[in-house]
Each structure stands twice: as structure tokens, then as C-alpha cells.
Subunit: 429 residues, 2 copies
């Protein structure tokens, strides 16, 4: 039952997974419920912005030609015939030596072709009504925001696949998307295997630990924008496990198992893949941690076998499951975003395989630095809590030292990348 495993490149593993990529269905949901969801189609302007010629200032709308002779020496007086606030439209047409008081954002009234700012006018109230005097001339179009000058009706503004943030929600409201087309989220089944696992509400007993990988993966699934169904943890019984996996494949879009994939004597996953008639994509990757990450395909659905080691499990999800989910959500940039930074600590271990180290970004004077987390004993426990990136140390490299430049996968990022990480050419298997 021990499987001979041939390691493949990280890049090839990602590409093998993405051969089975597909878009999820489209759902129409209320604008109220769209936060954090993913646009299923580009956001398009349903009207010009501004939607009408409008005043960017508080002031008076009038005709430029009437102001031609205004100067400090020759102030001109205009009769104020109406007053309009934002949202109002004047029924009057501005005529010769007339003005209409206008508020910021209000529509330019008929007849007027420019706006004199409030602070450049002097108001006089008399028995015949209000008038203003001005001391300078204006040209046609002065202080008018013209219809469509910011955006034309029909312009695509935001790509499909974008995660809806406050600014995008404002655009959706502005352009009348009271219902929003979003991608449906895939359902990810989770099975934690291993007879050593206790539930969080169970007391510790000798030899056992509590299941934390399942909860961690659930949280990673939510963070990336999908939903999960928990099939519980199960001890290493091959028949029960096969049954549970069959059921999960039926009910879910993707299945993740954790544990049960190392080369120890109790690893049943390769045998289960055979029983299911699943098509094995890979069961070993030239990386640390997570070398025993596996993936198989059954009826077009992917079965990810992540390591039982917490860090390996976490990283396996981010590298291989995340892009599959993000593509499902119609992202055009489903892969992890990469930036570069400078190491703040030595990391002298050689890297026969590509190594991914949990890291924390530190910004100093406009530069990106990164600290590996979990190098010391106590950090091992909390390293996944503090990590906001994965430091990439390509295979075939000697150790890295403080001050070396490294590439980083961002973990909290919503932007993503349109191409997967490509191992440096000097990497060796």
C-alpha cells in the first residue's frame, strides 16, 4: 500500500490543477448582500457621469455673454430669478442679465452657460427681490461639469472577478445595480483523517491532539471566497473513509482531505483513489513543506489530499486550491500575488526543493522587509496566525542570509496575479 511517488514541480502541479478549472454559475443577489462577493460580469456605467451638466460649486448660473464687460471698475448687476438645490431643476430659463442661485451638484438651468462662484459675488436684497453684482467676466462653460466628462454611459469600469469592496459597492449603487450578478461560491468538502484527532470540545487524552487543520482550512476557504461542508474527522479506516469520500464527491464541487498522505504505514489515500477510479494528477511535489500534497480528479471534480502537518496543509491550500477557487469565482487573476522584499533574518538551511516559509512583512522607510515567523520554538505554534506572506526560497539554492532579496506570496491580498509562480531556472529537482 506504500505508493512510489514521483515529485513534480510546483508550477506543473498548479498547471495540472488548472487544467480542470471551471467557472461557477451566476447568481443574482441584492446589492445589500454583495460585500466580499465576486463580480460575475464587468461593472458598466448605466449613465453618463456627470448625468447632466452640473455645477461643481455653490454660486450663480448665468450667461457668459452678459458678463463680458464686468470688471472691478464696472461691476454688473444680475437679477436672481430662482434658487435651486441639489436634486432640484429650475422651471425658469436664464435670460438677459439674470442669474439663478445654484448649489453644488445641481443641474445647470436652461439658458445659463457658466457659473460664478458664490464668494465672487455680492448679494443685495431689495424691494424688487434679490440681485447680485459681479466684477469679472466668464467664458462659456466656466465652472460647469459637463455631462459624461468623467465617464460615458456603457463604459466598463471594473473587471469581472473583482471582490466587491466599499468603492465598488458605491459604483454598483451609482449605476443602478440594485441586483448584482455574482459568481456562485463553490462548496468545498473537508475530511480530516487521522486516528489521533480530537474535537476542540474534547479533553486531551494521552497521545492525541485536537483537530486544528480542519478548522484552519475552513477559515482559508472562507477567506478566499468559497463555502465548505465539514464531513468531520475520521480515523484511518479505509472502508469508512472511502464511503465518506464518495458521498462528499457527490455533494461538493471540490474535496479536501487532510492527513493520511505521508509514506507511513497507515496511509490509505492512494488505495482509495484506486478504488474510486480517480485520475491521479500528482502525489508528490518538489517543495517543503507539503511535499506529499496530492491531487486526483474524479468525474471532473478535484480531490486535494493535503498534508496533516499544519504548515504544509496551509501552504498546500494557498498554492493549489486557492487559484482553482478564484477562477471558479471568475477572477481573471486567480493566482497568488507576488512581491519582492528583503530578508530581515538569516535562513541558512539549504533548499534542495523549493521552500515556502511563513513570513511577516515589515515596512521600513518605503522598503519591504520580511521576517520569517516560526523560526524559534514558540513561534512554531503561532506562525500561521502571524503570517501575512509566504517567503519563496527556490529549490537548488543554498541558504539565504539577512539582506538577501526574496519573492513573497501575499496571503491577505484580493488583487491576485494572472500567472502562477514560475520556479527560477536554477531550481533543481
Amino acid at each position: 500500500m506504500v505508493e512510489r511517488r514521483k515529485p513534480i514541480w510546483v508550477k506543473d502541479a498548479i498547471e495540472n490543477v488548472m487544467k480542470y478549472k471551471k467557472h461557477g454559475d451566476i447568481e443574482l443577489i441584492s446589492l445589500d448582500d454583495c460585500d466580499g462577493r465576486f463580480l460575475a460580469e464587468p461593472l458598466v456605467a448605466d449613465h453618463d457621469v456627470p448625468p447632466f451638466d452640473r455645477s461643481p460649486y455653490d454660486g450663480f448660473a448665468l450667461r457668459a455673454k452678459d458678463t463680458k464687460n464686468a470688471s472691478r471698475e464696472n461691476p454688473l448687476t444680475f437679477k436672481v430669478i430662482d434658487e435651486i438645490g441639489a436634486g432640484q431643476v429650475s422651471p425658469f430659463k436664464v435670460g438677459n442679465m439674470e442669474a439663478i442661485r445654484i448649489m453644488t451638484g445641481a443641474q445647470i438651468p436652461k439658458g445659463a452657460d457658466c457659473v460664478m462662484m458664490l464668494e465672487l459675488t455680492k448679494e443685495e436684497k431689495g424691494s424688487e427681490g434679490t440681485s447680485i453684482s459681479i466684477k469679472r467676466s466668464l467664458n462659456e462653460g466656466d465652472n460647469i461639469s459637463f455631462q459624461g466628462e468623467d465617464t460615458k454611459k456603457g463604459s466598463p469600469l471594473i473587471n469581472r472577478g473583482a471582490a466587491i469592496n466599499p468603492g465598488i459597492k458605491a459604483l454598483l449603487a451609482t449605476f443602478g445595480y440594485s441586483k448584482v450578478k455574482v459568481s456562485s461560491s463553490p462548496f468545498i468538502g473537508i475530511i480530516a483523517t487521522g486516528s489521533e484527532l480530537l474535537n476542540p470540545d474534547e479533553d486531551l487524552v494521552p497521545g492525541k491532539i485536537r483537530n486544528s487543520n480542519g478548522y484552519m482550512i475552513e477559515s482559508q476557504i472562507l477567506r478566499v471566497g468559497a463555502r465548505y461542508k465539514r464531513y468531520g474527522s475520521i480515523s484511518d479506516n479505509i472502508d469508512k473513509l472511502t464511503e465518506m469520500i464518495k458521498q462528499a464527491i457527490d455533494e461538493c464541487d471540490v474535496l479536501i482531505t487532510t492527513g493520511g498522505v505521508s509514506v507511513g504505514d497507515y496511509d490509505y489515500l492512494p488505495e482509495i483513489y484506486r478504488r474510486l477510479g480517480a485520475n491521479l494528477l500528482f502525489n508528490k511535489i518538489a517543495m517543503r513543506p507539503g511535499s506529499v500534497t496530492s491531487c486526483a480528479e474524479k468525474d471532473g471534480k478535484l480531490l486535494f489530499g493535503l498534508s496533516g502537518n499544519p504548515s504544509a496543509c496551509y501552504i498546500g491550500f494557498e498554492l493549489f486550491v486557492r487559484p482553482y477557487i478564484r477562477y471558479w469565482l471568475r477572477s481573471e487573476q486567480p493566482f497568488l500575488r507576488i512581491i519582492s522584499g528583503t530578508l530581515k533574518n538569516d535562513f541558512p538551511k539549504p533548499n534542495p526543493f523549493s521552500r515556502f516559509v511563513r513570513g511577516k512583512i515589515v515596512y521600513e522607510n518605503g522598503q519591504v522587509f520580511v521576517e520569517p515567523v516560526g523560526l524559534d520554538k514558540s513561534g512554531v505554534v503561532t506562525s500561521l496566525a502571524w503570517a501575512d506572506c509566504l517567503i519563496i526560497l527556490p529549490g537548488g539554492t543554498r541558504g539565504y542570509m539577512k539582506g538577501d532579496h526574496v519573492e513573497l506570496f501575499l496571503l491577505d491580498d484580493q488583487q491576485g496575479s494572472d500567472e502562477p509562480w514560475v520556479e527560477a531556472k536554477f531550481s533543481k529537482l
Copy 2:
């Protein structure tokens, strides 16, 4: 009804708000529902990690003293008396020249004091059972992860106020938090004022625009970790508005109004504050945009009056409302996190007041650059969607040029800062 407004510093405005800071109540919720919530108390280890002496490798547990004479020339043979997987405990005690096969993570059996790695042994199966031979010696404690060496029971691992991410959820599961104490989220009431406002499902009519600020603020509220109650948009009727605000103060923890705070003729908010007997904290800030941001206090509850201008509204929320909410959620770092970066574009406008420009961070070769978004006409519409930071241009400065260093508030960040931004000394009102 026009209010004389005295501008105050940004820093002073933040401090005035934070004088009324308070912690929310504590809720006990299921571990399953805790993603994105905020720890109400530090996360503490309920047991040692590792919880028992365990093997970090697959191999054989045995006694170091029995291996003393092992060498390539003198291989020693041990009788294998048991086999234990993760989660199992052997009933046997390892005696003289005996070994127990042990899997990664399993508890070291009684009698054994070291572990020989599997790949350094040669297994032989005979009629009397299995035996192994080894060719090197071990010391007591070799290849054992000792109980408590990573973390001692009772150690605080994560601060209160931390947002629960996948790594923290894994820790909660590990340490038996099947129920988690989290901060209750404040309810923020929202009233969008302005007679020009249409709902997103209404057709545009002359002179009017759709309400987008309300939806944007709701999304900002969710992003920072609070909940909202929408009181709808209301036209500029002072009696109705006063009634609605009274009701909202009763029902919510914080109230946000948008619009109705500029110095135009139709601004009722100062008058409403008077009618309510609210204590005005400020109604003008030396900043752009958002100078007419106001805040008042009534019965210990804060009423924020944000500008009707989308950018000013957005920025007013992030600068003043967000830290109040984050403190409520028991964050010890409730303020916006600041990093520095290099401008990628000229921003030649002088800054008589502190200016906050929506920006997008660009990482290049380990450096942080920032591009103002919304400088061109079409960008104005989408700038809030693309912004991931606010570029800080302190008051009293001339224009900034490409290559200049600037400070940035991060918008998508969960880490925060324990102190508010302090205006540079050279700022002038």
C-alpha cells in the same frame, strides 16, 4: 442657520472622538462562527505544546544506553516489541535491546529516551518476530520533541482585539476553544440626507443622482467589523430628519449621517444638534477632502456627520469612525496603520490643509511606490474602488513631485496601529 465653523487638527479630531471610546460587550460564540470576529480576551494555551514527549519522525523508540556501542563495523540488533501510530499509546515499556516502531507525532513509549529515524535502520522479519539493526549510537533525548518545548500551558499567544484569521482559528481549535469569547459588534445607524438622492432601483430623473454614499459606508462598516442599520435616505426636511435621528440614537450605538453638512443654505445638521441638545465636538477639520466632517455626542453616543461628497465621506469614515469601532472591538491597535512609500506621479497642488489622496500601492523591487488614483477625469468615478491606501500630504506643504517620500494609511489592513497619525510639525492651519 449658517454655522460659523472653526477648523481643528486631524489629530485633535481623532482624539476628541476617542475621548468617548468604549469596549463593547463580550459574546460567547461557536468556533464555527468566529471567522473575521475579534478576540475579546487573549488566546491562551490550555496545554503544553507538544502535549507529551513525541516523535518528530517515523522510526524506532529505544534506549540510548543500548545504542552506545553501535557502529558501521558493529551493527546492533533490537527486538521490535510494538508498533504505534499517531494517537496511539503503547502498553509496553521498552527494555534492554528492545525498540517500538513509532510514527510521526506519536507519544514516546515508556522506557524509551530517544528515536532512531526509520531510514537509518534495517528491518528483518524472522520466525521470532521483527527486529532492526542500527549502525550508530544515540544520546538521551535525540529526536524527541519534549512536552512544552514549543509553548507552556497558560502562555498568552494572541492579543485580544485580533481579527480571527485561519491561523488564529487553528490555534483556537488546538487549545480547545469550542466556544470563543468575541467582542460584540457595534450597531451603526446610517442616514443619507439630501433631496437629490434616488435609490439604486430608481430610474434617473433630471437633476438627481442615486444614493451611493449610504451603500459605501455600509460596506466600510462591514469591512471594519461592525454592523449597520439603514434608516434610508431622507430629503432635507429638518423636522423629519430630527425625528429620524432621535430614533436612530435610541436604537444604535453610533450614528452616521451623510450629506447636509456643507455651508450651503440647506444645511440643517448644526440646528438639529442644537435641538437634540448634543454636545458638538467639532464641525470643521483642517483637511481636504472632508473639511466639513462633524461629530457630536449625545448621552455618550457619537453622531458623525460625514460629507455628502463620496471621497470626503469615505475618508471621514476611515479616519474618525473606524478607530472608534476598532476600539469597541477591543483592538489594542485601533488606528489606521501607516507605512511610507515613494510617489509615482506629480501631485503639484499646494496643501494649505492636510490632504488625503486615494492611492494604490505598487511594489517594485522591494520598494513601496504609490500612485494617486482619480487624478484623471475617468479615475474620479472609480478611484474609491481601486484605492488601497490614502496618501497623506501634510498641511502647510507645497506640491509633491514624483520620487518624493510620503506616508500612507493602509485601508485593507487588519493590524492597525496603537497611535493616531500626528501631523508633521510644519503643518499650518
